[in-house]
Subunit: 156 residues, 3 copies
């Protein structure tokens, strides 16, 4: 199955790409790599959640944050697909960095970022397996709980 | 106009490159890419500002932080230019990560990092447009409010 | 001396590679680069220390954190060596990002990450010199004080 066929089988529609808030681009191609900009969990222009992730009463829960990670990863994929000339031009996912806005004491960043990693394996199979870093940060743009950036390799 | 001509037209002089505080290098070339180390807003050896960025009385203001981002980006460019054999060997800016030491509740990291992004577009035009991530962190080396790292592509 | 000879001379044994906590891989090769995942200071499956780094009574000390950085770097090297087909296939270290879980006011991240940088120069000599960023973050997976990710270049 191609990536676009897997997307269809999974019932996933690639979202539109948010206009960058500044003088940068959603994704940049160099050689056979495409680098995405850091992507937020925006769905139809609104963040799925805002705040820091943790166990406090007002926190975004780890489960919500995992959904946010998946949504941000889908936005990264959409940006890469445009720069690549279509999702079926993507050969592999190389690298992913996942930033989690974390409440004091919250250290389950990997579980949150699994929401992003799993999306790529769902769509690309073994080629979707990637190197990744998951880190906890103090704050993210617009108050987003998660930001994801990705490097993908293109078919040559 | 070449990049060096644009620099001259903008009245920008590439600064000297700070000696790394450790066993690493200011920028490393591999193939037709140059990776800069994370650069701080050092001007003539002193930080333009120190502290976290936000709206509190003692904070670095977002406007000051944007100037810091531009200064750090210029330092990254200077480091890359040396590794590249001159600024006119740079074909494009591929990727930029902007770390902003952020006070609690400060989420305008993109506006801060626009100070870095704009510099590259000023100098390289459309080829200066890059993928980027902007994140808020708890602290940066020497108390710097901003740190910038860059990947640039060389002419081949 | 080859890298494996230097390892032996230094009395360093490459550790086993921790199983990723999610759907990603310890290191991913693309072309002549290998990207490691973010690695923690795990030794025999246990973190060398947990908590944030700083000068407070309960903090991980900068000296302990430097040891953690070296251990995490060794784990990154082990992951890269497997993806590369052996440590002697590594031609150079290109880039390193060092995340330090930092207590408020702690800004000596570069000294901590020197523990990682020095390891690569010990093993690879001048080719081990790399671009790097060192940043302070609020929290890291499992409460680790340090996380390191690395890009290495392979012999071609």
């Amino acid at each position: 199955m191609t990536a676009s066929e897997r997307l269809a089988a999974l019932g996933i529609v690639l979202p539109g790409v948010a206009v960058p808030v500044g003088t940068y681009v959603p994704a940049k191609r160099h050689g056979d790599l495409v680098y995405s900009s850091g992507q937020l969990p925006l769905v139809d222009g609104a963040l799925l959640a805002t705040g820091t992730v943790g166990q406090r009463i007002d926190d975004v829960t780890p489960e919500q944050a995992m959904e946010c990670a998946r949504a941000a990863a889908l936005n990264a994929l959409a940006a890469i697909a445009i720069a690549a000339g279509g999702i079926d031009q993507i050969a592999a996912i190389v690298r992913l960095t996942g930033y989690v806005a974390s409440s004091p004491g919250f250290t389950a960043q990997p579980a949150v970022i699994n929401g992003a990693s799993a999306l790529f394996v769902d769509i690309f199979g073994a080629e979707g397996g990637h190197a990744r870093s998951a880190v906890g940060v103090s704050a993210l743009p617009l108050g987003a709980p998660v930001e994801i950036d990705v490097i993908a390799a293109l078919r040559t």
